[in-house]
Symmetry: D2
Subunit: 122 residues, 4 copies
């Protein structure tokens, strides 16, 4: 049985998802390859909500769209945590390293106010 | 300046990203619409690593591929936290609600060992 | 009114779609940015059909899944033709150039039986 | 050897791709599942070009971005034709059926000037 209630952190979420998957015998489907596909599908379902909205409209969602966004963000996080668990990757450690790398690749004084890839700046 | 070092939780990550974006004056690009696009692109970069691998190979990554997976998972988490922050959504609360909903839609005794959408079961 | 019946080639499809969009006053939504998002969403809906199937199962679809695949392939083609039309790109000419480039980047004798990116070969 | 030169229609493209794949012994990688992943990755590479552009900017591409768009549209078409070939689906016939269905689901007088899903109209 899944523990009910509010999840406090990524570590608890990881364990809750392990239980959910084990009870359903779904680990057989959860190869990293399949989980990556599932994550990209959820990301697209998020994108779909915004595709015909202007950027301004995307900041001022009505209640129905906002609820859909919440559900899709949750789905993305679920698969993200599952892939990381399956491959024994520490998500926050990996993100810490990535932010350090991004800080090097995108020095504030160089990229301010521009949105290019790091190799597109003059 | 970004604080260096290991990020402890999603709340700290949210604040670190706010600082990163503010220093670069990038908030102007970070509409939910654009962030959703960026998240889906990162999800695809993750998928790309696995696309020609078998499921078994996807569980036994060499060091180079594993490092790429870590970087892409981090990128997905970064945009996920940014969208949630922009729309003032509590990611863990939304995920708690979604897991409760999934438990209702996919009762263990009914779906065990099958991977269908909830409306595809007999 | 849309002309009914079988579409013979990409040029006819382009014109049929122009009529469909004009009748609905949808050109205002069809910026290349939005059309690219819509295309990626349709690509994900295609992916979703396969995500929990093995590769072997993906080659032996039942009638219901096969019908869904046909519909999603059609949706992808529709948005592909719309983007190309919006930007005045000749799809078959662009593809001819890309195949020539691919032939240079992936010489048969060098890549035979391996699926790597062109910069990953020794 | 690939025939050089301009491709005239989807049928010729299908045969050119068959030859390209056979020469490289790549059919083993081209399950519909893997091809769908590859298509979604190419769709994301297209999306990436537009993600930080405004809708207006997406209509006025500079030469470098335009060349990238052309290449990504070609990649999408290549995988689309490959999946259809692998599953023996006639792309233009499937698209003809889909347009007829869209005409029913989105009657012009009902949806004019609005971009909602067919089940979201009052």
């Amino acid at each position: 049985m899944e523990a009910a209630g509010q999840i406090r952190d990524l570590e608890e979420l990881k364990h809750r998802l392990r239980g959910f998957v084990a009870e359903r015998d779904w680990a057989q489907f959860h190869s990293p390859k399949n989980l990556a596909m599932a994550l990209s599908v959820e990301a697209a379902e998020l994108t779909e909500i915004f595709q015909w909205l202007t950027e301004t409209q995307s900041m001022e969602l009505d209640a129905a769209r906002r609820a859909r966004v919440e559900a899709e963000l949750a789905d993305v996080l679920v698969y993200l945590v599952r892939i990381a668990d399956r491959l024994e990757i520490d998500l926050l450690a990996a993100t810490s390293r990535k932010l350090a790398e991004n800080a090097r690749k995108y020095p504030a004084e160089r990229v301010r106010g521009q949105a290019l890839k790091y190799d597109e700046y003059d």
